[in-house]
C-alpha cells in the first residue's frame, strides 16, 4: 500500500491553468485547479513552472541494442549486419540483454517514454529490466524459423512458456508475440501465431514493408503484396502492430484500415538505413488507421528520444509531400503520446480514472523561449532534456532529472558493450 501522490501547481497545456493532481493506487483520482491535498500523509511534487504532459509511447524498438549504439554507422546494410551486428549478437548473454535494456529504459525515462513495444532476444532479461526500471512494455522474443520445423516447434514452445511465466511480473510487463518478418517466418508458423494471438488476445508485433526488396520478394514468392500475405495468414487484426510500413500501396492501406491493425513509423531508422521510401502518413491518417511512432533500436538511430524523432517525423512528412501543413504539431502530439494507438494501452489523457502516467516538463529553458504555443515548442523545439519528472503507475521514476541507479547501469553497459563488440 503506497502513499498517495499529490502534484501541486502544475501548468496544464490544455486548459492553460495551474492544476493539482491526486494519485492513489496507480490511478489519477482527480486533476484540476481546485483539487485539495489528501488529509493524511502523502508524497508531494512541487510542479511550479512545469507543464503536466502525458508521457510518450515508443511503438517499435529493440531496447537492448543500446549496446551497439554507434557500432558501425554509415555502412551498407548487409555489411553492417554481417560484420558487426550479427557477430556481436551471437556473443550476447542474457545478462547483457538485461543491462542493455536497463540502459534503454533509463534513456526512455530521461526522455519521457512510459511505454514501449520491444522485439528482441532473451524474453526474461527484457521483462526483468522493464520490471526493475518501472516503466511499461510489450515484451516479445523474436520468432524466426528459417532453420525449419524444429526451430518453429521451439519458438511455439517458448511462446507458450513465456506467456505462462509472464504472470511473475506486474501488469506493466505485457507479453507479446514478435515474429520477425514475413520473410523469416514460414507461412504455417504465421498461421499458428495468428491462432495463438487470437486465443490469448495478445499483441503481435512484426516488421512489415520496410524495404522494397521485401515487397518484391513477397510478390515473387506469394503473388501478393506483404499486407495481403499477412492477412491471408490471419495475422492482420486489431491486435497487430506493424513496424515500418514504408512501402504500402493504397490497397494495402485500405486492407490495414479495414482490419484495424496499428502502424508504427520509424522515421530516423528508415532514413539512416536509406530504405528508399517514406511512411505514407497522410494516406494512413485519411483512413484513420491507428498509428504510433518508434525509434527502432539505438543501433540504427542512435538514440531513443522520441521528442527528437517526432520533429524529424513531421519534417520528413512535410518534405515528402511538398506541403508544410502536413502533420501539424497537434497531430504529432497525438502520435507521440499514443492516443492514436489504443492497442499500446496509454490514452494520451491525464484525467480522473486514467493510469497515473505523466510527465512534468520544464517550461522555462532557453531553447523553448518564448512560448507562443506550447505544443509547437514541444514538437519542434524540445528534446528529452526538458523532461524534469516522470511518473509511471503512480511511482516517481525520475524527478529533477535524477534517477537512482543511473551510474551503475551506465558502467555495467560500457563494460559489457566493449566485450560483446570486440572484433
Amino acid at each position: 500500500m503506497s502513499l498517495p501522490l499529490f502534484v501541486q501547481n502544475a501548468w496544464s497545456p490544455s486548459s492553460g491553468e495551474s492544476v493539482n493532481l491526486l494519485v492513489q493506487d496507480g490511478i489519477v483520482q482527480a486533476v484540476g485547479p481546485n483539487v485539495n491535498p489528501p488529509a493524511g500523509p502523502s508524497n508531494i511534487l512541487q510542479a511550479k513552472g512545469m507543464a503536466l504532459v502525458p508521457p510518450f509511447v515508443n511503438g517499435h524498438t529493440h531496447a537492448a541494442m543500446t549496446l551497439f549504439r554507434g557500432y558501425g554507422d554509415d555502412m551498407p546494410l548487409m555489411e553492417w549486419l554481417q560484420t558487426r551486428i550479427w557477430p556481436a549478437e551471437a556473443r550476447l548473454s542474457e545478462e547483457d540483454v538485461y543491462w542493455g535494456t536497463r540502459l534503454a529504459c533509463l534513456e526512455m525515462i530521461r526522455s519521457g517514454t512510459a511505454c514501449f513495444a520491444d522485439m528482441y532476444w532473451h524474453y526474461h532479461a527484457v521483462a526483468r529490466a522493464v520490471e526493475d526500471a518501472g516503466i511499461r512494455a510489450f515484451v516479445g522474443s523474436i520468432l524466426i524459423d528459417v532453420a525449419g520445423e524444429e526451430q518453429a516447434r521451439q519458438f511455439q514452445y517458448l511462446a507458450e512458456k513465456n506467456l505462462e511465466e509472464n504472470s511473475r511480473y506486474s501488469t506493466r510487463v505485457q507479453f507479446s508475440l514478435s515474429p520477425h518478418a514475413i520473410y523469416t517466418v514460414s507461412g504455417p508458423s504465421l498461421s499458428w501465431l495468428a491462432d495463438f494471438s487470437q486465443k490469448h488476445q495478445v499483441l503481435t508485433h512484426i516488421h512489415l514493408s520496410e524495404t522494397r526488396h521485401e515487397v518484391e520478394e513477397c510478390l515473387r514468392q506469394h503473388g501478393m503484396r506483404p499486407a495481403f500475405y499477412l492477412d491471408q495468414k490471419g495475422l492482420l487484426s486489431p491486435l497487430t502492430l506493424l513496424a515500418h510500413g514504408v512501402h504500402l500501396n493504397e490497397d494495402e492501406l485500405d486492407l490495414i484500415a479495414s482490419r484495424g491493425a496499428t502502424l508504427v513509423t520509424n522515421p530516423v531508422s528508415n532514413m539512416k538505413l536509406a530504405v528508399g521510401g517514406v511512411f505514407p502518413y497522410a494516406r494512413a491518417h485519411h483512413r484513420r488507421i491507428p498509428m504510433a511512432m518508434g525509434t527502432d533500436g539505438a543501433a540504427s538511430n542512435n538514440g531513443l528520444d522520441l521528442l527528437q524523432d517526432v520533429k524529424i517525423l513531421a519534417l520528413l512528412q512535410k518534405h515528402a509531400d511538398g506541403d508544410p501543413t502536413v502533420l501539424p504539431a497537434s497531430q504529432a502530439f497525438e502520435i507521440l503520446t499514443g492516443s492514436r494507438a489504443p492497442l499500446l494501452g496509454l490514452s494520451g489523457q491525464i484525467a480522473a480514472g486514467e493510469k497515473a502516467d505523466f510527465l512534468l516538463m520544464r517550461r522555462h529553458d532557453v531553447e523553448i523561449t518564448p512560448e507562443h504555443c506550447f505544443t509547437s515548442n514541444l514538437i519542434y523545439a524540445m528534446t528529452g532534456h526538458q523532461v524534469d519528472t516522470m511518473v509511471v503507475d503512480g511511482h516517481i521514476l525520475m524527478t529533477d532529472r535524477q534517477i537512482p541507479d543511473q551510474d551503475e547501469i551506465r558502467h555495467e553497459v560500457s563494460h559489457r558493450a566493449e566485450r560483446v563488440c570486440k572484433e
Copy 2:
C-alpha cells in the same frame, strides 16, 4: 591583459589521450599530454571526463527570429509570412532585435556554436548582441531594393556606414553584406555589391536557389539559372556565402566550384518549409565545394542546436540518395566544425597558434553510452545538452552549463515576443 587559461586532463578524440591546453591572448599556446601549467596566476578548467572538441559554425541564420519561435508553424509559406512574420517584423524595434539576438547567442553557446553568419535588420543591434555575448558572427543587414532606386541608394549608404562603424566592435564581429536574394535585389545593386565586396574584401551572404519558384522566375526573367545570373553580376567569388542551394543543377555546381564560393545547407528549414528538394551534398562534395551548415532562423526550425541538425542533415542525405554510406559521421563533423568552410574563419582544429575557441563535451551521459566511436556519438546521439563548457577567443562563455545573464535574457525576450506578436 587577461590571465592565461589552463585546461587540465581533457580527452582528445583525435589522439585518444588525455591532454592539457594552454591559452594566452585568445590563442592556443600549446596542447598535448605534456603541457605544463603556467608558472604565474592562471584560470584553470578541470576537464576530466570531457572531450576537447572544436566548436561549431552556423553558416546561415536570422538570429533575432528566436522572437518568433513557434509563432505560426505548419502554415503555407505565404500565409505564414503575410499574416504572422511580416506584421510582427514591422513592429520590431532595435532593442527587440538586440534581445532576440542575445537569446539566439545564448542558445548557440549552450549548444556549442562559436560563430554564425547572420542576416537580419538593425545592424548595430545584432553587432552589440554578438559583442556582449562573447561569440563570433558575420553580421549583415538585409539589403532589398524592391521599392526602387531610392531604396538602393539607402542601402548603399547603410553598407558604407555600417562597415565604417563596425570598427567600434572587437574582431569577433565581422561586417558582411547581406543582399536578400536575386529576386529582391536589382541587377545594378547586385553589381554594386560585387564591387563593394571585392573592394573591401567583405563576405557577401545571400539566399540562393531555395525554391523551385526562384529558379523558374530567374529562367523566365533572365534566361539563365540563379547561379549563372549571380555570376553575371560578379557576385560569385571566394567571398560569397550561398544559403540553401537546394535546386542547383550540375552546371551551376561546376560554376560555383570554379568560383570558390561557399554553400550553406539548412536541412531542417528546407524540410519544414517543404521547399521540394534536397541539397546536393554528394555532388557538391565530389567537386570539393566549400560547405557549411546552418539552422536558418528559429522561426523555421525551431531551434539553433547544430548537433540536432547535423544528424538530420546526414539522415536526409542518406534518405535522398538511397545510400546509408552517404555523408558519414567523419564528413558531418568537418561540416559541423567549419573546417570545410574557411570563409567563416574557424579551422575546426585545436592546435598551437589557432584561435582559442573550443568546447568541453560531456562523455558520460546516458544518451552516449557506450562509446564505441566518439564521432558517431557526437553526430548521431548527442545534442547541444552535452556541451559543458565553451571557450571563445580565450574567454569562458559557459562552464558546467552556467551562463551568467541567462535568466535576464529569457525574461526580456518573453515580454518582447508577446508584445511584438500580439495580433
